[in-house]
């Protein structure tokens, strides 16, 4: 540990003797020193994913100018959306050091339930069909979680079995060789329709203000209790960075991107973006601000300690599979929306591997106890950028798979190496 002793000068507020003993006066410099210490100690978080995104963006952008166009940016978002959502659910499962190999086909099952219920044959109303699809995901998760937590079968085996079985269920629901088209405008609109540009800006402004209010309030309440809070310049920089990056994204998406403007106008933020933002906020809140989320980390870090602390470990273990499969259901609905149909291979192919890859690339540890919902989105962005950029460059899908596989391998190595480094320096 690099403990530089600093004078115990309190900055402001009534600093109690107790707190003063435990805290150091916050400054921008010490904040960054701490951050670099953390990174050096192996706590790299989402850093590799962010650096990877920048490198990929620069490389693809310089090789193909269409890569950075507004049209392709919107494509990227809708391509990566369902992977990102499935990966967000997988983060919960992986936080316990478990794995859900069936998430891909679980998304397929739920999507086909939705599609078949909406089809003229059954003609169920949209809310009922949506509820049925989500309930299917929930039930799948409950089943998987129960088998893992109560029966004690390793999650790898349970979900591998489910992977095979769900593949069959999709095939039976959709029918071999068949395709169920989705004609519901709301479902189709999730991934294919865009918000009016003004609405996009309004939502952007509301989100930034809410984020700023949250950070400022948190810092204020900590200072009021005499605890260290993030220095004001850092808070301002965070808010500014988020506002700039998301603002740029909204700006690009609000550009006209129709190929022939005379026929149709195509501009605005796809509806799937606010959907993902809402999921991100809700799940991050659950993980970071509720005791349930705290207990997930605890069980992932040391299940025995959690058990002794009175945490219901079995229930926690079951519940993360429920979250995983329910998120898979949402991911499946987004994928079905983008394709406007469900085919027997829904959720198959590389859906699952991309989702697991996204979570790992984003910084979720395969060993449990470490990960954020945010990681899933960053990782999904990397995966989508590789697929999209290499597609634009005209590489065959064979090469794309190899590259994506290599990136996943690199991410897993980074995870393993940073763990070793953490073990050596004692940082998580």
């Amino acid at each position: 540990m690099s403990t530089e002793t600093q004078p115990a000068a309190s900055s402001e507020g009534p600093v109690t003797a107790a707190a003063a003993a435990m805290t150091r006066p916050p400054s921008v410099r010490s904040y960054f020193t701490d951050y670099f210490d953390k990174v050096r100690g192996g706590d790299i978080g989402a850093l590799p994913a962010i650096l990877g995104l920048i490198v990929l963006g620069v490389v693809f952008g310089s090789l193909r100018s269409t890569f950075i166009g507004a049209g392709n940016f919107a494509n990227l978002l809708t391509q990566g959306a369902s992977i990102a959502v499935i990966a967000m659910g997988l983060v919960f499962v992986m936080l316990l050091g478990e794995i859900d190999l069936s998430a891909g086909f679980a998304s397929g099952v739920c999507a086909s339930v939705l599609a078949i219920l909406l089809s003229p044959k059954h003609n169920v109303s949209l809310p009922v069909a949506l509820a049925a699809a989500l309930a299917t995901g929930l039930a799948i998760g409950l089943l998987l979680g129960t088998l893992v937590a109560r029966v004690g079968i390793p999650s790898f085996v349970v979900t591998l079995a489910a992977f095979l079985a769900f593949q069959g269920i999709v095939l039976i629901i959709v029918g071999e060789g068949g395709v169920v088209t989705i004609n519901d405008d709301v479902i189709k609109g999730i991934a294919n329709d865009n918000m009016a540009p003004a609405l996009g800006w309004a939502l952007w402004a509301v989100s930034i203000i809410a984020y700023a209010a949250l950070l400022i309030r948190r810092a204020a309440s900590r200072r009021a209790k005499g605890l260290t809070a993030e220095p004001i310049p850092v808070v301002a920089a965070r808010i500014g960075a988020l506002a700039a990056i998301t603002g740029a994204a909204v700006f690009i998406l609000n550009q006209e991107r129709a190929i022939n403007r005379n026929i149709t106008s195509l501009k605005g933020v796809p509806y799937v973006v606010p959907l993902i933002v809402v999921l991100l906020v809700v799940l991050t809140f659950v993980l970071n601000r509720t005791s349930y989320g705290r207990h997930i980390y605890a069980v992932g870090g040391n299940a025995e300690a959690a058990r002794r602390a009175g945490i219901n470990v079995k229930w926690i273990r079951t519940s993360v599979f429920v979250i995983g499969s329910t998120m898979a259901a949402i991911g499946g609905i987004i994928a079905a929306s983008r394709a406007s149909s469900v085919d027997p291979n829904a959720g198959g192919g590389n859906t699952l591997l991309y989702a697991v890859g996204a979570a790992v690339i984003g910084g979720t540890s395969l060993f449990g106890g470490k990960g954020k919902v945010r990681d899933a989105i960053l990782g999904a962005a990397v995966v989508a950028v590789i697929a999209n950029g290499m597609g634009l460059l005209g590489y065959k899908s064979g090469v794309q798979f190899i590259v994506t596989g290599l990136v996943l391998l690199i991410a897993a190595s980074v995870d393993a190496l940073s763990r070793r480094r953490s073990a050596a320096t004692g940082k998580i």
Binding site: K225, L227, R294, G301, N302, G369
Partner: protein
């Protein structure tokens, strides 16, 4: 027994505990007083862990009386023990490496405001508790436990036990895995706990430590209480003799006669 006149905070009388055919504890009497460090020593297999688990409610006893602060209680689980203010710090500490000090100290008993974790209050209380124990070795209460040394982890585990206004803290070999300097810190902390008015039960194999911080020594020998004496009344070699043979010259035996169930007072 000792000349302490006050009511013991914890008093176990005639505790028996068997696991199947194995009779692990035989008519064990054990007392711990507020403001004192009671050392529980004994060879491997003497029943120290079992006795600890009976105190902590992990095992129920087959027979015997459990008195807390003078009145009889039934302790059927760790929660009952915690409700009485009894906290046990196990040897493996049971901390989550991926959580920070505050999160570990409040694990399973988080302070909430509504459905949201009240981080500010928890951090404040954790810092206060550490400060009240004069712990100055921890840089920040928001450090991950993984980054702490063995002594600091022990400190956090003990602080976690003290946080809940506990009245009895049982420490299972707190210094077993520590270096010299860290052992020093932890022993100082153990003494401070007793000086704060808690009843501290210290399980240890290191008699030098026991003689340094303990007020009383209880020696278990093959599931029986061989002696329960004040530290100043015994010498080092007598305790060694008690641990290895169950008796020592010049030390009053605390073993109950098998036939008569009254405690033997000499």
């Amino acid at each position: 027994m000792t000349e302490t006149s006050a009511t013991p905070l914890i008093e176990l009388r005639g505790i028996n505990k068997s696991f199947g055919p194995v009779h692990v504890l035989r008519d064990v009497d054990f007392t711990a007083y507020a403001g004192q460090v009671t050392a529980l020593v004994g060879d491997n297999g003497a029943g120290k862990s079992t006795l600890t688990k009976c105190i902590g409610g992990i095992h129920g006893s087959d027979s015997g009386v459990y008195l807390f602060d003078g009145s009889e209680v039934t302790v059927n689980g760790p929660r009952d023990a915690a409700a009485l203010g009894i906290e046990i710090v196990y040897q493996d500490l049971a901390l989550c490496d991926n959580l920070d000090i505050v999160q570990n100290m409040f694990l399973g008993r988080e302070k909430m405001s509504g459905i949201v974790l009240d981080e500010v209050t928890m951090e404040h209380l954790a810092a206060e508790t550490l400060a009240s124990l004069s712990v100055r070795t921890v840089k920040s209460v928001r450090q991950h436990v993984a980054s702490l040394s063995g002594g600091q982890r022990q400190t956090v585990a003990i602080a976690k036990a003290v946080l809940w206004n506990s009245r009895v803290v049982v420490l299972d070999e707190p210094t077993a895995a520590l270096g010299v300097a860290q052992t020093r810190q932890v022993l100082d902390l153990v003494r401070r706990l007793a000086d704060k008015g808690l009843a501290v039960v210290l399980i240890s194999h290191n008699l030098n430590e026991v003689f340094e911080v303990a007020d009383r020594i209880a020696v278990l020998y093959l599931g029986q209480m061989a002696a329960d004496v004040a530290v100043k009344d015994v010498r080092h070699n007598q305790v060694v003799e008690l641990i290895t043979t169950g008796r020592a010259d010049g030390v009053p035996s605390a073993v109950r006669a098998e036939q008569a169930s009254t405690g033997v007072e000499l």
